[in-house]
Each structure stands twice: as C-alpha cells, then as structure tokens.
C-alpha cells in the first residue's frame, strides 16, 4: 500500500465519521461575512440600469442628469447606443453613489431610448418542417454530425442537398481524412456547393439525426411500445445571496475584489484584461457564499462595471449586488428540455429500442442537448434535438447540467413502458441494469436498499390508486449518475514549531462542507484534533485550487490535502526519529503523539515533536493530480437510486411528497454528516423543481413574469415530507477514493416524483413542474398509457 493511499477504516480516527461542519457556529451566529455583507468605510453603492425590452437596439443614452446629482460618484455606460440587446434585463448603464437611495435615484434620472425589435421566447414544440430553414451546413453543424457519428450516407446527402457555408481548405480536408472520416464525406465536402449562411432568423437549430443499430426493425418486432411526451421547464438558480462583486483600487495598479463566486482562483484572470492590469495585481477574496449551484463562475458584466466605477470614483470600493428580479431574470437559468419519446421492450421487459425528438431552450445560445436515453445504452436508437434560441438571459450550469432533464425524459418513459407491460418498475429496471455500463454493480447494490427503505414491495401498486376518495397515493423511482473527479488543487500545509497546523488553499466552501473535509483529512493524517488545524481559504493569494463546478471540489481538495499532510508527517518523523531512537518509517502519528509503532511507550507529544522543527515552521505543497505521488486519490462516476412516495389530490391537482429515499454512492465518504446533508438538500431542491419552480416568460413582452420569490416559488419547510438517506460505504466504495457529491442526488427527484404521480393517478403529467394546472389537465385528458 502506498503511503498516500487513504487509510483503512481501522486506522482513521476522523475520516468517514459523522462530524459537524466546522463553520456551523460562525454561520448560525450570524458572524459569517458574505460578499453581500462587505461594508468597508467609504463603500459606494453600485446599481445597474437594465433593458426593459426582450430585444431592442439602444438608440440613445443620456446620463447627464444622473452625473450632476449630488452623491453620484461614477456613471458607466455598459452597452453603447447602437448596440443590439438580446434579452430583457440586460445591463445598459451602471452607477455608483454614496448610498443605495441615491444610486436608485440616479438610475431613474438616466434616459435611454430603444428601437424595440421583435422577440421570441417560446420553447413550445418546434414545427416539424424546420430543416429547410436551416439552409447550408455550417462548419459547426458538420462537425456536430461527425462527432455524433451520423451515418456517412446521411452526411453526404445533407451536404449535397443543403450545400455548406464554410470553405474547407486542403489542410482541413486532409486532417479530416486522417481523423478517420469516410472518403465519401471528404469527397462530398470537396465538391459541395458553397452558399452564404442562411440569412433567415430561425430560432431553431436542429441536430442531425443520430442513429444506432436498427431502430425501425427493433420497434417492429418489440413486444411493447410506448409513445409519450416528457420534459422539464426552464428554472432559475435563485441563489439566496444574489450575484455580485465589490471592487476597489488600492493603488492605481492594484485591485482588491470581493465577489460571490464558485471560482475564487479563476476570477483574476477574467478581470485583468478589462481592468488593464496584470492578473497578479488583483487580489480576490471570499469567505462565505450564499449559494451558487453552477451560476457563479465569472465576474460577469456587473463585476467588470464595479471595477470601472471604482476607478472613476478614485478607487473607492464599489459594490454591486443584483436585486432579486435581476437575479432571477438574468443571473441563472437551467435550460428547458422536452421530448417526444418512443420506447420499446421485448417480452421480458428488456429495452430494445428508443426514439426521441427533443427540444428546449437555454436562452440566446440555444440549449444543451440532454444525454438521451439517460444511463441506459439501449441497443437501437434514433434521436434528434432542436435547440431553440430565445430572447432571455443565457443558461448557466445548473447542478448536474442536462442530467435532471434527461432523467425526467428517460425514467418517465421507462416507467410508462413498465406500466404497459404490467411490470413493477423496480423489476423492469433491474432486468435492464446490464445496459447501465460501468456502474451496474452499484445500482444492483443500491436498488434493494432503496426498496427496503421505501418498503416498496408492501406499498407499491400497479398504475392508478384504486382506493376510493379524491386523494391518490403512488410510488415512483429513478436512478442517476455523475462524474465528479477531483479538480486540480494545490495547497500549502505548514506545521509550526508550537504544534499548530495551517493550510492555505484558494478554494471556496459553497456550504457543501469543503472546509470540514479538508480539516478532517489533515487532522486524520497527522493524528491531531481538528481544532489544531487552521484552514485559510477564500483568498486568491493562496495556492490555486479549481472552481467548484461539476462536483469536483471534494475529490480535489481532499487529495491535495492528503498528499501534503502525508509529506509533512514524514518530514516530521524524520526530524524526531533520532529522539525516539527509531527509523522514521517505524513511526506513527496517533492521538496527538508521535510514537514507535512497535513500541508505543516510546512516544513524543505532538507539541513536543513539533518543537524539534527548530525556530522555523515547515511548509509542504500538496497537489492534485500528482502522478509522482500515487495512487490517484479521487475517481469518477457515481451511482444513485431515489424513490418517492406522493399523494395527489385529484380534485385540486395538488401534489404532496410524503416521503423520499435516496441511496447514494460517492466513493469514500469523508464526512457522513455533511454528505447526508448534501443529499437531503438535493432531495429538497428536487422537490422544489419537480413541483413548483418554473421561469415563466411572457410571449407578449418577452419578460419574465415571475422574477420574485412570491411567484417563483421555492419549496418550503411544509413541503418536504419525510426524507431518508443511505450513503454507500465500505468495501467496493471506500477504495475508489473521494468523488464529488453535489450534482448526482439532484438528478433523480423530478423523475421519481413524476413517476410516483403517474403511479398514483394512472396518467402521466408530461412536464415538470407538476403544478395543479398540469395535473388537472392530465387527469382531464385521461391520457392512459
């Protein structure tokens, strides 16, 4: 066993136990300071004037009255006259003033005129005949087709029929051929007709049809086929601490930034160019962040505006935090995804064929293509996606991007198929686990545990609760996966001669427990109490650590901390070995002592041992990844199973979650307590998007109709039901190393709850959220499967 390897359960006093988060006390007592709370002397309040139109051209901006106002210190035009603005709420002018009232007054004094242009905000099903409007094939379209392994004859036909809007030169064609493209495709490109890119402003972008196996044949010979409509509406991130940043010029070449971010180490490089100073002159700080969920990786335009406003105001700190309406309208969005699905199985319930026509929007950029079918490698498939470009603030990564939508589409279609086959969905899923790839065994372990926690066998009934009364009860389930490999992370671990230990790392704790697990790993490795380790994060001058996105933080920060702590421990062993009359490799660090493994009576207290370092502290650098210090301490690919028990009032359409269970794997669990909180939090967030959340755009004005927390409704404490979590641990899990946990458990709730509703009322409610209106509509149409 390599010395960096995670310790065995017998030799880890802290790792894998239930430990309260270390920043709990500072949070519950209100002492935790967030970016929003940054309040230095002389702070100027920054505010943004936003475009009220979903699509417009700015024709004039008059800021003169605002500039003359007493108390206004800086006015910055963000988008100049002549600029085309593509969504409502986009930034136009920023102001900084002595206080919030004055800044608000200044915004009102600014006159902006617009030429209002036509907008498009609908993500309803695209018309069937949209291929024609796509015109010639762009290089992107072509490369998409190749990446998606569209059959060569289809690619050739498309090129011949539509022409191309790019000029593939000899070098491009040669590289294409070398990369394995078929000669017929290369030839088709060589002889293709060039056409100007389509001038039509179609909002639809259709991917090529992707085909695998022989879907037509498989559908024709299948024992059961189901066709249905599934999907999830667009939602927003709704971070409670809105996006925002405070900037101040401490000299004319040095910038101090406080920002609410998931990407502390990555902010300075994004500010350097607009600020016109080297990135090294920018210090970025953040101790606490009030939620990110994938929406806070960049300084954003308002952050850059605060830099410029501060410069104009003589370097004074300028803080811009978004108001709630802007936060919901422009600072976060999860793309919608809907699909018409056809799915088929044989007599044994084995999945044989899948066909999907999916669509959705992620704002101007179109939208992500959900990974369909989710998890299950169905042998025969045909699928096509249409990304709809709409006039709204662009999508941002939302916890497990595209997975919750893909799960809602796939798991609901599967459950409908199970109902048609009169199969228990757990049974049907179990019969198809061989299609789940590398995580098959995990799901096989987890399914029976989840079923037992839910008492599935006793409580499940075939589709449609046949008991009398208006309230129907049902069970549903879903499975999910995610990567979660640890990101690049450096840290410096210092042991001081007085025995105190300090770790520096430019990472962030989003409330996931990152601080806690770093300290657990260090204290566990050094054999000292957690109190003995001081952790310094949230300052870009510390060693660089990756952004907290894609569930990469836990694996990254624990791996670099482990390596640093092992190295520091070994250096300390080398220092004190002579005093203990032993070889360094015979020593161990246990219970705040350094002692001889074979003779524990030969011992030094931790403090005593550290005092032998001499006058100077000792610092070691830990890194992840680090091939020179194997093994790999992190891993990728987790599996989880969730089940939901719901009651549906068929008279009001109101859905209530009675209970949810989650069985989750994330490799080696560092802290069971915060890990469980993460999963429970994901269940609650999942209940929220399954039942309540929807970003609703007004087709007439193009504006968000519910940019507030009354009508953009989050689940409350009364909505959550009983929640049970089981973390997979022990053999088969621990040795995989640490894997991130933030995304995976938020994937399944929508699908599991939708399936439970279908099981209760006997009909499918196609789209999330399962609002009373949608439930009643489904009941009305009585769409039986």
């Amino acid at each position: 066993m390599s010395e960096y390897t995670w310790p065995n359960p017998e030799t880890r006093p802290l790792l894998g136990k239930r430990i309260s988060r270390v920043d709990g006390p500072v949070k519950v007592s209100g002492r935790a300071k967030y970016t929003f709370d940054y309040n230095p002397d002389g702070l100027l309040a920054g505010r943004i004037l936003r475009c009220p139109h979903a699509h417009a051209r700015i024709t004039s901006i008059d800021t003169s009255a605002a500039e003359k106002m007493s108390g206004v210190k800086a006015v910055q035009i963000i988008q100049k006259p002549g600029t085309e603005v593509f969504w409502a709420g986009d930034e136009v002018v920023a102001v900084a003033a002595v206080d919030e009232c004055t800044a608000e007054d200044a915004l009102r004094a600014i006159k902006v005129q617009y030429e209002v242009l036509p907008h498009f905000v609908s993500d309803t099903e695209p018309p069937q005949n949209i291929t024609a409007s796509n015109g010639p094939i762009s290089q992107d379209d072509f490369e998409d087709m190749e990446d998606n392994q569209v059959p060569d004859e289809q690619v050739v036909a498309a090129i011949k029929h539509q022409g191309i809007s790019f000029h593939p030169d000899a070098k491009y064609l040669k590289e294409l051929q070398e990369s394995g493209a078929d000669a017929s495709v290369v030839q088709a490109l060589r002889t293709a007709k060039y056409a100007l890119p389509s001038g039509s402003k179609s909002p639809y972008k259709k991917t090529a049809v992707q085909t695998q196996g022989e879907p037509d044949k498989a559908f024709a010979s299948a024992a059961a086929t189901v066709e249905g409509l599934y999907g999830a509406s667009a939602i927003t991130h709704c971070c409670l601490e809105s996006h925002g940043m405070a900037a101040e010029w401490t000299t004319d070449k040095d910038l101090l930034v406080h920002i609410s971010t998931q990407n502390l180490s990555g902010i300075a490089p994004q500010i350097a160019e607009p600020a016109g100073i080297p990135a090294g002159n920018i210090q970025v700080m953040q101790q606490y962040i009030g939620g990110g969920f994938g929406s806070k990786f960049s300084p954003d335009r308002w952050g850059i505006a605060s830099v410029q406003l501060s410069k104009t105001a003589g370097g004074k700190p300028v803080k811009i935090m978004l108001d709630r309406a802007a936060e919901l309208e422009v600072a976060g969005m999860r793309p919608s995804a809907f699909a018409r699905v056809k799915i088929a199985a044989d007599n044994d319930g084995k999945l044989v064929a899948w066909e999907s026509r999916s669509w959705g929007t992620g704002g101007m950029g179109g939208g992500g293509t959900p990974p369909l079918p989710y998890i299950f490698e169905i042998p025969n498939q045909r699928k096509q996606n249409v990304a709809i470009s709409t006039n709204q603030g662009s999508a941002r990564a939302w916890r497990a991007p595209n997975h919750p939508q893909a799960a809602a589409i796939t798991m609901c279609a599967m459950e409908d198929l199970a109902a048609k086959l009169n199969l228990d969905p757990v049974e049907m899923l179990t019969r198809n686990l061989d299609l789940t790839g590398p995580r098959e065994k995990i799901y096989r372990d987890e399914l029976p545990i989840a079923a037992e926690m839910m008492e599935w066998k006793q409580n499940w009934h075939p589709r449609g609760d046949k008991t009398s009364g208006p309230v129907k009860r049902g069970l549903g389930m879903s499975i999910h996966t995610w990567g979660g490999r640890g990101h690049n992370s450096d840290c410096d671990l210092t042991i001081h001669p007085d025995g105190s230990v300090e770790i520096k790392m430019a990472t962030q704790d989003l409330g996931t427990g990152a601080r806690t697990i770093i300290i657990i790993v260090a204290a566990d490795t050094l054999g000292i109490p957690m109190d003995n380790v001081k952790l310094l994060i949230g300052d870009s001058r510390y060693p660089i650590s990756g952004a907290s996105g894609g569930s990469t933080t836990s694996g990254g920060v624990t791996s670099s901390t482990r390596r640093a702590a092992v190295d520091a421990r070994n250096q300390l062993f080398a220092k004190v070995a002579p005093a203990l009359k032993a070889q360094p490799e015979d020593l161990e660090a246990v219970n705040a002592t350094i002692r001889v493994r074979s003779d524990p009576s030969r011992t030094l207290s931790w403090k005593d041992a550290c005092s032998r370092l001499g006058a100077m502290p000792m610092t070691v650098r830990g890194k992840n990844p680090d091939k020179s210090k194997p093994p790999d301490l992190t891993n990728s690919g987790v599996g989880g199973v969730q089940m939901a028990d719901v009651s549906v009032d068929t008279e009001t359409g109101i859905v209530r979650v009675n209970k949810m269970v989650a069985v989750q794997d994330c490799g080696l669990v560092v802290d069971v307590k915060t890990a469980e909180s993460q999963v429970i939090g994901a269940l609650i967030m999942g209940i929220s998007y399954a039942l309540y959340e929807e970003k609703i755009l007004d087709p007439v004005t193009g504006r968000m109709l519910n940019p507030n927390m009354d009508f953009y409704r989050l689940a409350g404490i009364a909505d959550i039901g009983e929640l049970k979590v089981h973390m997979m641990t022990g053999k088969g899990y621990d040795e995989r190393g640490v894997i991130g946990l933030s995304e995976p458990p938020v994937v399944s709730p929508g699908a599991a709850i939708s399936n439970a509703v279908a099981n209760a009322i006997g009909v499918r409610v196609p789209f999330l959220p399962l609002t009373p209106a949608r439930v009643l509509e489904a009941l009305e149409s009585g769409r039986q499967v």
Binding site: S20, R21, D23, G24, P25, K27, V28, S29, G30, R31, A32, K33, Y34, F36, D37, N39, D99, E100, C101, C238, C239, L240, E241, S242, Y288, I289, G290, G291, F293, M321, D323, R324, A325, L510, G511, T512, K673, T674, E676, S677, Q678, I680, G681, A682, L683, I684, M685, S688, N708, M709, D710, L714, A715, G716, I717, A718, I720, L723
Partner: protein, 210 residues
C-alpha cells in the same frame, strides 16, 4: 427626535397610513431639511420626514444606535448599511423569504418591510444580539448539531424564527413546525435539519407526546 405634535400612540412611528394618505395629496414642495417638518393638510398638522436624511435612533440589541438615513430606508438597510449588523440578509426585496427576520418588540418581523424611522423606540433584536463573543444559544448549537445549515445565508433568519417559534410553542408538533416556520425560505435544502432542531427542542418531543 422630539415631536410634541404627535399623539402618544404615534410616538414611535414615522407615519400612520392616515397621515400618508393626506401627504400624498400635498402639492407644495417639501424643503430639504434635517428632522421632521410639519405641514398643514386636510385641515390638520401632519409631521413629514425627509425627503433628505433625518437623524434616527434605534434600540438594537440593547444599545442605542444613531445614524442619519432617508425616511425611505428600511430597517434592514439601516441595520446592514448604517450599523454593519449584517446577520439579517437581503434576499427577496419584498417580504417573502424571511432571510431578514429580526425581533421587533419580541415579535419576528421581516426587517425589509419596516421603515427604519418606524422602528424607532422599539426593541430590536438581531441574531448578533442573541449571543456574546463566541458563545451559541442552545438553538444555535442544535442547528450545528443537526447540520441545519449549508451555505448559511438563510440561517440567521431561521435562527430568529425558530427561537421565537419555540418560545411561543414549547410543545410544538411536527405539524406546528410545518406551519410555524413556513415564513422562511432556504435554497440549499436545510429544512430537514431545521425540522429536527425544532422537534428536538420541543417539549412535546421530549415527553414523547409528539
């Protein structure tokens, strides 16, 4: 701030609704001066604050805090911006989410929905005022023990709400908790822990009656 014209019942508030209705009909410009002025409207003398900054005195966590704010400044803005008491958070901007909950005369109130001038003379308690130094109240400790916080942004509001709720409902059942704590929103999903805190701290649970 002394004002002999006010009736005793108005002693500590800036404006009554009735006053406001009258003032909104006034067309004369109000001079920019410190302190309240008196205008005649609808045959009565009405006290008017602002529109400029006026001095305020707030009784927060047992201390008299003095500042100058415009009358439109909310209690939340005054606490956060004038006095750097930032535990109460600004989230929804409109009295929906409860992140700004503080106690005003022992009652939980959304500080974003009260004007600072109206909060004068009342006893205001923020989360900072519940403890001294590094100590935690038993409710706070229970939040830590039950891991009833993640990002922590909604937590101070929940601490105030839960503390007050349990004082008012020492024998709270799960159903009481569902209703009593539904005035606060959380995004990370910490309700399960908060429910566990409330249950653990209610006597009903302890006596096995819940």
């Amino acid at each position: 701030m002394k004002d002999d014209k006010k009736s005793p019942s108005d002693q500590h508030s800036g404006l009554t609704r009735r006053d406001f209705m009258k003032i909104s009909g006034i067309s004369a410009a109000v001079p920019l001066v410190l302190g309240p002025t008196v205008v005649h409207a609808a045959g009565e003398e009405i006290v008017v604050y602002g529109p400029g900054k006026i001095p305020i005195v707030l009784d927060v966590n047992g201390r008299k805090l003095i500042s100058e704010v415009e009358p439109r400044v909310t209690l939340l803005e005054a606490l956060r911006n004038s006095f750097d008491l930032t535990a109460a958070k600004s989230v929804c901007d409109r009295g929906t989410c409860g992140a700004c909950t503080v106690l005003v005369d022992e009652k939980p109130v959304y500080a974003c929905s009260v004007l600072a001038i109206e909060a004068q003379g009342k006893k205001i308690t923020t989360v900072e005022g519940l403890t001294e130094g590094d100590s935690l109240t038993p409710i706070m400790q229970a939040f830590v023990d039950h891991d009833a916080q993640q990002c922590g942004f909604c937590t101070p509001g929940f601490i105030i709400a839960t503390t007050h709720f349990l004082q008012e409902h020492p024998n709270a059942t799960e159903d009481d908790i569902r209703r009593g704590l539904s005035g606060n929103f959380c995004r990370c999903g910490t309700y399960n822990g908060i429910r566990a805190v409330a249950l653990a701290k209610s006597s009903a649970e302890k006596s096995g009656a819940a």
